[in-house]
Every structure is written in structure tokens, then in C-alpha cells.
């Protein structure tokens, strides 16, 4: 098993969650805005 390097997985998880929250929130926002019309 190769060396895994520094233990900073928390930052990785935080970044992936932040990206998903922003993209999914915008998708939902667009859906709601277009449904109102």
C-alpha cells in the first residue's frame, strides 16, 4: 500500500460538500424560478 501523505481528508470533504451545496442550490433556485412563470 503506497504512502497516503498528510492527513487532510477533512478539507477534501469540506470542499466537495461546498461545491455540491452551491451547484445543487443553484439548480433548485433555477427550477423554482422557472416554475413560478
Amino acid at each position: 500500500m503506497p504512502e497516503a501523505g498528510p492527513a487532510n481528508a477533512g478539507y477534501m470533504v469540506a470542499a466537495y460538500i461546498a461545491a455540491a451545496v452551491i451547484l445543487v442550490s443553484y439548480a433548485v433556485l433555477l427550477y423554482r424560478r422557472t416554475r413560478k412563470l
Partner: protein, 233 residues
Amino acid sequence: MRLLRAGRWITAIGLVLLAGIYVRALAFTPIERFQGPAQKIFYVHVPAAWCAMLAMGLVGIAGILYLLLKDPRFDRFGEASAEVGTVFSLVMLTTGPIWAKPIWGTWWTWDARLTLTLFLFLLFIGYLVLRGAVTEPSLRARYSAVLGICGIPLLVFIHLSVYLFRTLHPQPIVLKPSAPSLPGPMLVTLLMSFGVFTLLYVGFVVQRYALSYLREQLEAAGGTGGGGGGGHA
């Protein structure tokens, strides 16, 4: 409206594929030895930066075409692309500092690349604020087109900033004159992520464009007693 439905489908497919990219990046892509798991932030940060720059490039091109042809479709597209570009810039500016903290030891540094990408985000915001502030449609379209065109030289500076200035930001590893310097599985994950983010950009822009079009149609119908419908989709 067909365009709106198409945009929704593209976005839905893009979100499902994004989940697939998450699984591939987190579970099936090797961990880089020196940076550790934080290096995997790269698979969302770089494609988000690509989409933000693509969005601004297309806002600029739409601005040029609007000034030449005075076709409202280009103005509508510029507005849609700017709003979507703001979202991808936000992803870029959120994930970048989260990567920088464990790797550089600081969330943010005012070096050329980072500062110029912050300008890009502020330019998107300025573009949207300008559109909100000017009520006369043709004037709004003309001012927005000019501001959008200003984004094109900014993109060139952002790309060249790592060559022109001393910067902490890594050099390009894919878009460079020689072959990409990334191991095979990492390169495949990155290229797939580029594809999925671009698909999401397309889905968002198509929906946002359709939203503007429908709003204009409703306003025209309200203003002329239901006789709207003369616009170009």
C-alpha cells in the same frame, strides 16, 4: 417551452453525473503522495474555474455580437452566462482556499492569479448589478455588452498570470504546450469532471436563457394586452 425542458433535463443529467464524478474522484482515484487527500479538491476546483472562464469568454463574445448585430438573443445569452459564471466562480473561490489552507498554510494570499480570479468574480457581480440598475432594455444591453467585452482581456491575464508573475498558484498541468503532466487515472478523472461541469454549465445557461425569454414574453403580453410573442427564442 421546449428550451426550458431541455435545460432541466441537461441539468438533471449533469447532477447525476456529478455524483458519479464524486464517487470516482473520492473512491477510485489514487491519493497524491505529497498533498494527500486535499489534492482531490483539484477535481472540482479546476473544472469550476474552467466553467467560470468559459462563461466570461462567452459573455464577451455575446457582447461583441450584440454590438454588431443588435440581436436581443445575444444580450439574453450574455445575461444567462454571466449569472451561471458567478455560480462557478463561487465554487472556484470556495474550493480554492479550502485546498490552500492545508497545502500553503493560508486560506488566501494576494498573489496575481488569486487576485485576478477575484476580479473575475467581481466583474460577474458588477455585470449583474449593472443589468439590475439600468431599466431601459437597449441601453442595458449596450452597457452590459461593453462590460462583458472587458472580461476577455482579464481571461488572458488570468491564464498568463502564472507565467508573468511570481505566484504561489500551481502552473497549468493540462492546458500547457507540452503533454499533460498527470498520471493516467488522475487525468481521466479530471477530464471527466471537465465534461460534467461543462454539461452543467450548458444546462444552467439553457434554463436561465429560457427564463429570461419567458419573462420578456410575459412582460410583452402584459404591456400589449396579450399580443406578445414577437421575440426570438
